[in-house]
Symmetry: C2
Subunit: 221 residues, 2 copies
DNA sequence: CTAATGTACGTTACCGGTAAGTAACAGTTA
DNA sequence: TAACTGTTACTTACCGGTAACGTACATTAG
């Protein structure tokens, strides 16, 4: 495995075109997310990245290795978004949960280029979608997705516990169902035209009901 | 006519073996659900059904036609389950919603053979999973999924309205997010080991919060 | 009873396209 | 020189789909 030590060289948008490997990876991430993993061949990736298949296989041992790296990268970007969303309300887990769902609607997806330019319709959760395509024999890729979702579950349950919920695991799981459902429904309903529009109110309702033993007299909001 | 007419040809327990077309369809439905649509080729379907590719193309014009029929059939079975679940509480929409989510956990998926025999891990929603695999150019298949999910959304919103929810569309959408999330998470967490375990309590909480201006004094249930 | 016919299905071989992955060689640049 | 990259050509395998032919059986007419 090739380990790049100079990670901090991230300036891509400037004139000098990045290394072939990086171009391939960025292109592949984009194509994988938009069209699915199985639907995108290495030839398409290479030509779209302005190179050819041989340079692909000089940079990656196999397509599966690229996919694994893609999934890990998406996971990293996702939790980066997560941490960033809750950072402003450190010490206030209840507000952190609300902040998560507030920024949920704005986040089409973790974009490599920081902007959701050509991505007209968000295609949900990259890792979750991969779970649909991953065949049952593939322990490597399936394991990545499983660990990822398990970590999300763990974080939501912890937030619920820190917020003082009566049944923290139940609240955490319920919030996770909302998030998962939002991603899933986005595959069918573009942007926020689907039931995802109700996600913030739903999350707030669940949090209120789980935290306030005596619910507030009227809608707090 | 030969002397070996005494051999009983019935290996299947219920009478004569069904027609090739039916065998192909049942087999394909099973394989599509378990492994995904793109992952299953017509050769695999045919041989698994005990026939060959030519008989496949004598029964179906193309693989896409079979897929469309598969999706329609899954949709039909799903709404059949739906109607069956709420039938016992006609006239009581609130209980109908609860009944839906109560039977949600039991329903691994609409099984062709009525039993969830070989299907160890439920693979979520057949239509929803198809949405991941359907390429953007396929209007036919994409349209089927879109109509299906739109109908679910319509039904849940109507139930919420009939139940007297303050914001029926919001409650309906929130309930749909729970359902979608349940299916999605089932891809990663087998059976009910994932966050789906909290779906009934979450649904009840949302319904209570939306219907009771003054929530019940303590947990009813 | 026999023969003809239609229907349903099996078998083999093949097509064009595309997939993942590799070999060998040539050009570029530091 | 040595590392990196581009190019062409190739292998192996599978995909959806088709052609041509062979077989078993039921029906019906003569």
């Amino acid at each position: 495995m090739n380990v790049k030590s100079g990670v901090e060289v991230e300036k891509v948008e400037l004139g000098a075109k990045p290394r072939v490997r990086d171009r391939i990876f960025e292109t592949a991430s984009d194509l994988f997310y938009r069209h699915g993993i199985r639907a995108v061949g290495v030839d398409a990736i290479a030509s779209e990245a302005g190179t050819n298949k041989m340079s692909f296989y000089r940079a990656f041992p196999s397509k599966d290795d690229l996919v694994a790296e893609y999934l890990h990268d998406q996971e990293r970007e996702y939790f980066s978004w997560w941490d960033q969303s809750i950072a402003a309300h450190a010490g206030n887990p209840r507000r952190q949960i609300e902040a998560l769902f507030d920024s949920y609607l704005d986040m089409a997806r973790p974009q490599p280029k920081g902007d959701c330019g050509g991505c007209k319709t968000s295609r949900g959760c990259a890792l979750g979608n991969a779970a649909v395509e991953i065949t049952e024999g593939n322990e490597l890729l399936g394991g990545i997705v499983h660990e990822y979702k398990t970590e999300i579950r763990r974080r939501l349950r912890k937030l619920a516990r820190d917020a003082g919920a009566r049944e923290p695991d139940t609240l955490g799981d319920a919030l996770m169902l909302l998030m998962e459902g939002g991603y899933y429904s986005r595959l069918t309903f573009p942007q926020n035209s689907g039931p995802i529009a109700a996600i913030t109110k739903a999350a707030r309702t669940l949090v209120d009901a789980a935290i306030n033993a005596e619910p507030r007299a009227h809608k707090a909001r």
